[in-house]
């Protein structure tokens, strides 16, 4: 049987930002000290939100929730968590 009304369903397609601007949830932001960074890519591996660029260690603050995993895992201490104003 065909539908006779337009049913709006809670469907989303996988794409960047489909979950909204999750960066607004953040209380602390990871700040990368480029001088200390060896580009080992460990932060890129551990980031649960995939918001760290693989080549340049740049954080996409629009979606970073500030969990601090990157700062905890960085072997050279190049990432520090700074309180959001």
């Amino acid at each position: 049987m065909k539908a006779v009304t337009k049913a709006y369903r809670p469907i989303s397609w996988p794409m960047k930002g489909a979950g909204g601007d999750t960066g607004t949830w953040r209380t602390h932001r990871p700040v990368v000290d480029i001088q200390k960074c060896t580009k080992c890519q460990i932060c890129w591996i551990y980031c649960p939100e995939a918001v760290i660029d693989r080549e340049e260690s740049i954080v996409d603050y629009r979606y970073c929730k500030g969990c601090g995993v990157c700062a905890a895992e960085c072997p050279t201490g190049a990432i520090s968590m700074v309180k959001e104003e």
Binding site: M1, K2, A3, V4, T5, A7, Y8, R9, P10, I11, S12, W13, P14, A18, G19, G20
Partner: protein, 376 residues
């Protein structure tokens, strides 16, 4: 054209035959008395090749409804059945089916709720699911169970809302009555294959029932509320078209008996409402102008049809087979009063709870109750 076939069937087997006639694709099932005989019959039909469906045995009712939700989201026509505490165990996933706008059809074979345990019929189980966003029919005969399951699939798929088809444990589910099964080509004409406009498809990945923010969540709930109300004309249309094709009629949103000139109106659902026709005859013989109004559709509550059908100045005797805990009486009485208030102030509503946990409701007993209620 082949003629309709008439056989003696239990209500449970009538339900299973309707599932077969509806060409259902997926049936997740878990046993619970008195529903088990539906699942046994459907499993047997799948096993012997009569029904080309996937039968999924699961470990509980929560999983049965979860499997139904998933299969329906994948575009299948899905049926399952349960009773009493099985229905309560599904409660969370019932919301997922309605909120996800999935046209699952489920039979609930009414049975009283634990504790203490009972196996016998009352309507606490289905009426406790009032606010889950499901459409609910309540049936009063084996034939109506068969007919209603087919109509339920049609309405569910037209409006993308799940439908629950309720009928009494044992009184209907385990008693034999003559059943007319229309020729398959008539049923196929009434209920064409399910054509969902969206389905889960690995070739086009999508995420279903994800987290929403308030600006998206609120409209989803409003649309569900609006669309459930919009089911009333579709329920009427389904009943009418089913009658045009098969010649069978159980009423649409409501079913009435000797109502036109009635001064005393019995108001009840399910098998007790079939017995109440005989109580009405008894009361008429005693000189009381009695009639019957049976809501066949419980949700959405057919307010306008009830308001229009009730004769002027009638006393309505609501016979509830359930408790409205926190209020003195039953749930149907509260629903009825809420729609009559301010619209039909000429009507008097009286209410008694009876038949709890399968206490036998005979025509004489209910006729006596109604007569006693006139003095309440």
């Amino acid at each position: 054209m082949k003629a309709a076939q008439v056989t003696m069937e239990t209500g449970a087997h009538a339900a299973a035959l309707a599932v077969k006639s509806a060409r259902v694709d997926v049936v997740p099932g878990y046993p619970i008395t008195p529903q088990t005989s539906i699942m046994e019959a459907v499993a047997e039909m799948v096993e012997n090749g009569e029904l080309h469906a996937r039968f999924i045995p699961v470990e509980g009712e929560h999983s049965a409804m979860a499997a139904a939700v998933a299969a329906s989201a994948a575009g299948a026509r899905v049926f399952t059945a349960t009773s009493a505490n099985g229905l309560l165990y599904m409660h969370e996933v019932l919301h997922m089916a309605s909120g996800g706008r999935l046209p699952v059809v489920m039979c609930n074979v009414n049975r009283g709720i634990f504790a203490p345990w009972t196996l016998w019929a009352d309507h606490q189980d289905s009426m406790a699911q009032r606010d889950t966003g499901w459409i609910q029919y309540h049936c009063s005969s084996n034939q109506e169970v068969f007919n209603t399951i087919l109509q339920a699939f049609r309405v569910a798929e037209q409006i993308n809302i799940p439908v629950m088809v309720n009928f009494d444990g044992f009184t209907i589910s385990h008693c034999l009555m003559p059943l007319t099964v229309p020729p398959q080509e008539e049923i196929d004409r009434f209920l064409p294959p399910h054509e969902p406009e969206w389905r889960l498809d690995p070739a086009h990945p999508s995420s279903f029932s994800n987290v929403t923010n308030a600006p998206e969540y609120a409209p989803f709930r409003q649309m569900l509320s609006d669309d459930i109300m919009a089911a009333i004309p579709l329920v009427k249309q389904a009943a009418q078209e089913y009658k045009d094709i098969t010649g069978m009629w159980d009423g649409d949103t409501i079913d009435t008996y000797r109502l036109e000139d009635a001064e005393v109106v019995a108001f009840a659902v399910n098998s007790m409402a079939a017995e109440l026709r005989l109580s009405v005859d008894i009361l008429r013989e005693q000189g009381i102008k009695a009639g019957l109004l049976r809501p066949r559709l419980y949700l959405p509550f057919p307010a306008e049809d009830i308001i229009n059908a009730l004769p002027q100045n009638a006393q309505v005797m609501v016979l509830d087979r359930n408790y409205n805990f926190g209020h003195p009486g039953g749930i149907l009485a509260a629903e009825l009063k809420s729609v009559l208030f301010g619209r039909r102030n000429d009507i008097t509503v009286k209410n008694r709870v009876m038949g709890i946990g399968g206490i036998d409701l005979t025509r004489r007993f209910m006729a006596d109750e109604i007569r006693a209620m006139m003095d309440d």
